[in-house]
């Protein structure tokens, strides 16, 4: 098991190593002359007021909620997609697998339609 995922671990290590190596090389070569004005947060020349870590538009949160629902749904469907041809080819099953998945998707589409109808998909309200 562990051996199968060996390349993944190696590539992850290499990716991180590349980033670190590039930063270290740059650190050795580059000048360093920090002063207060240079280290100020860039706001097109204006003095920044307060930190950026503040409140954000709530709509982002709602979009994320709806996204989670559809993400879960898509992931549920992937294993089904890989076997659907086999299942539907088995004559004893007929259209049963299709109906099963159609019910699953239609219930979710009702959700999408509801959110759409109620204006939940509008960015600005």
């Amino acid at each position: 098991m562990a051996l199968e995922y060996g390349p993944v671990a190696v590539l992850l290590t290499f990716g991180v190593a590349l980033g670190v190596a590039a930063m270290v090389t740059a650190w050795l070569l580059r000048p360093s002359d920090p002063y207060a004005a240079k280290q100020a947060v860039y706001e097109c020349g204006m003095e920044p007021i307060g930190p950026a870590w503040s409140q954000f538009y709530a709509r982002y949160y709602l979009i994320a909620l709806v996204f989670v629902v559809f993400d879960v749904e898509a992931i549920f469907l992937f294993p089904w997609a890989a076997v659907f041809k086999q299942l539907s080819a088995a004559t004893a099953m007929g259209a049963v697998p299709l109906v099963e998945v159609a019910v699953f998707i239609v219930i979710l589409l009702i959700g999408l339609a509801y959110a759409w109808r109620k204006g939940d998909l509008e960015w600005t309200r």
């Binding site: 538009y57 982002y60 909620l65 089904w80 890989a82 019910v103 979710l108 959700g111 509801y114």
Partner: protein
Amino acid sequence: MLNNFCFWFAALVALGASVLAVSRRNAVHGLLWLVLSLLAVAVLFFMLGAPFAAALEVIVYAGAIMVLFLFAVMMLHLGPAAQRQEAQWLAPGVWIAPGLLALGLAADLIAIARLAGDAPAGAGIIPPEAVGAALFGPYVIGVELASVLLLAGVVAAYHLGQRRDRSLGEGAGSG
């Protein structure tokens, strides 16, 4: 040997990252430790021969739920005041009751593990295709019920987003 080492290493990372996720005062730092913990759990699933569960863990939890938490953190106001509040919540006395409960659960788990003997986990690899056949075969009722649950999620999202007082206008700024 190697499998066992990877399993224990991932388990340790998961535990350590979870502790850090709870104890960080800065919500975003906590969130990042949580992501690490979830990724370590995904590695555990891989090691146990459940690649589909592992992929699901990464996509749904480390990916989707992480974004959801991030937006929740951003939606709430989190400045130095929130950090001070968090520090108060993490006073030593607060740990006693949950700590005792967790100890009880851990004792339970150890007892069960002792009684059950060697677990069958890791005996074989369950390919996603087998999961698909099972989900839309014997467990189809569960899948359809899950879709109803997800529908409830979408409806709830709409009602959470309802603005009580429409005269407030663009309250929290937009972007």
